[in-house]
């Protein structure tokens, strides 16, 4: 489902954010990506979501070589991918519900169904009743959960989450991970970037470890010492 073959990424005016990374994730598999700040976790997720293109190597998602995806294809690809952004990326002047509905608007879902599904997604992240608030009137952790609701609302085939629990307390973080695991269970491929070792130990999934852009470890589920 997601395959990296000798993928490198070098930003203009920077060093190598990723350096010869290869791995493959099956459909309905879930994995963590971890590593120090600046190790390349976000970059890896951005390549899968087609927010960036690799400088070298091949990224394949859902059997499609992303190098061949252009223009309209990019928007289409992103509609099939749900992404939680490390910096949330909410529209601050729209209500929480409008934010969560956004992927459904783009996909052309009718208004009534949009509202229903948005409300269900917000319920799942523990934000039931906050539909009409503006994101600026939420705590940061609440904002992060709005971003999570937006990523899952369209039930994407691929779910990417970049540090989705950086502003959540440990208990809530575990709940969110369980939610992601549910998506895995029904067939989504899930990739979560995190530096939270506690979480990685609790949720026993495969772990990819980055160090200065290189994939230095690929631990199967359960291999992580508790």
């Amino acid at each position: 489902m997601i395959r990296f073959e000798q993928v490198s990424k070098r930003y203009p005016g920077g060093g190598a954010a990723l350096d010869g990374v290869s791995f493959a994730l099956e459909q309905a598999e879930m994995a963590f990506v971890t590593g120090h700040s600046g190790a390349g976790k976000s970059t890896l997720l951005k390549l899968v979501g087609l927010l960036e293109r690799p400088s070298a190597g091949v990224v394949t998602v859902t059997a499609r070589n992303l190098r061949q995806v252009r223009r309209r294809g990019i928007a289409q690809h992103r509609r099939a991918v749900g992404m939680v952004f490390q910096d949330h990326r909410l529209l601050l002047d729209r209500s929480v519900q409008a934010n969560v509905e956004l992927p459904l608007v783009v996909a052309g879902v009718p208004a009534s169904e949009r509202a229903k599904r948005a409300r269900a997604a917000l319920e799942k992240v523990g934000l039931g009743g906050m539909e009409q608030r503006l994101p600026a009137r939420l705590s940061t952790g609440e904002q992060q959960r709005v971003g999570i609701a937006r990523a899952i609302v369209a039930r994407p085939a691929v779910l990417l989450a970049d540090e989705p629990t950086g502003n959540l307390d440990p208990q809530l973080a575990v709940e969110i991970m369980r939610l992601f695991a549910e998506f895995q269970a029904i067939g989504s491929t899930v990739l979560v970037a995190t530096h939270d070792l506690f979480l990685i130990k609790r949720i026993r999934k495969r772990v990819l470890v980055l160090d200065h852009g290189r994939l230095v470890d690929d631990l199967a589920a359960g291999e992580v010492a508790a």
Partner: protein
């Protein structure tokens, strides 16, 4: 929990329903946008409306100057001075002949007595001329060409009169008419250039407004792109906003022009009255007004199109 789905397939209904939903959303967004910055919208519409009102007003003025010019050309009749000493019978005979000409609208006979009276009315010469022992003035025929007569037809008539042995002198305003025609042509060309320039200005103004909007919404645009909005989807609200701005400016331009028309109605009527109501000054009719509205809307759309092409960051990952 349902199985995951790609979002494209998540949409209910056919392609048409999806298309309509997307447009309805864009429409609502564009209107919200204009309402969010009422002062900016007002300013844009005012400036753009003014830019569009100018050529329209110019067109209106030119239209009337045209009529006025025709009337002027008409009023500048050909004066035919007969030989001194010619009798009334001879003058009337020539007048009859001329009235039969196709190019002639009217002929007025002026007797030497009338000539002297007119001369006496000239400032200060009254008492002096009253002392004249004898009337030294000739008969005069004032020949008014038809409005439809072309300059060359009138020139032929003048030539014919000059060849007549009864005629001492012909005064013709032909060169004046020719100059007026040239002026009219020049005015029309100036108007075309001005209209083009002002349309460009209007385009710039609406483009700048839409660009401002795009730049102040860069974050929103990025988020839309991140959740899979196509370029057309992202662009659409801005195009609609441009359309509205253009249309509103058109309305302002029409209103301004009609205001000008109302303000000028008084003086124009007075001028018309001075010409004995023969000018028949024209008001703008509905066709050019509708054309302006349409043009304004299209200009707005075009300005938004250009601005979005230039300033909407292409959604191409590097």
């Amino acid at each position: 929990m349902n199985a995951p789905e790609t979002r494209a397939s998540a949409a209910r209904g056919g392609a048409l329903a999806r298309w309509w939903r997307a447009h309805r959303w864009a429409l609502a967004q564009s209107l919200l946008r204009l309402r969010e910055h009422p002062l900016g919208t007002l300013l844009t519409v005012a400036v753009m409306g003014l830019a569009l009102a100018l050529p329209l007003s110019f067109y209106l003025v030119l239209l009337n100057l045209d009529r006025f010019g025709q009337a002027l050309g008409e009023g500048q009749a050909v004066s035919v001075f007969l030989q001194a000493g010619d009798a009334q019978a001879q003058a009337q005979a020539l007048a009859r002949t001329l009235r039969g000409e196709q190019t002639v609208a009217a002929v007025t006979l002026k007797s030497p007595r009338q000539g002297l009276a007119a001369l006496a009315a000239l400032q200060g010469f009254g008492p002096a001329l009253a002392a004249l022992p004898d009337n030294p003035l000739p008969w005069v025929l004032v020949v008014e060409p038809r409005v439809a007569a072309s300059p060359s037809q009138i020139a032929a008539l003048v030539r014919q009169l000059r060849a007549d042995p009864r005629v001492a002198l012909v005064q013709d305003q032909g060169p004046f008419r020719a100059r007026l025609d040239a002026l009219r042509g020049f005015g029309a060309r100036v108007m075309q250039v001005l209209a083009a320039l002002l349309a460009l200005a209007a385009l710039l103004v609406v483009g700048a407004s839409v660009r401002n909007d795009i730049q102040s919404r860069s974050q929103e645009i990025e988020v839309l792109q991140l959740v899979g909005a196509s370029a057309a989807f992202v662009r659409r609200p801005y195009l609609y906003a441009g359309l509205w701005l253009g249309l509103l400016s058109g309305v302002v331009a029409v209103a301004l022009t009609m205001l000008l028309e109302a303000v000028l109605a008084g003086p124009a009527a007075r001028v018309d009255a001075a010409w004995g109501g023969r000018l028949g000054l024209v008001a703008l009719d509905v066709t050019p007004l509708l054309a302006l509205l349409l043009a304004a809307a299209m200009l707005g759309w075009l300005g938004a199109r250009i601005a979005s092409a230039r300033h909407l960051a292409a959604d191409e990952p590097a």
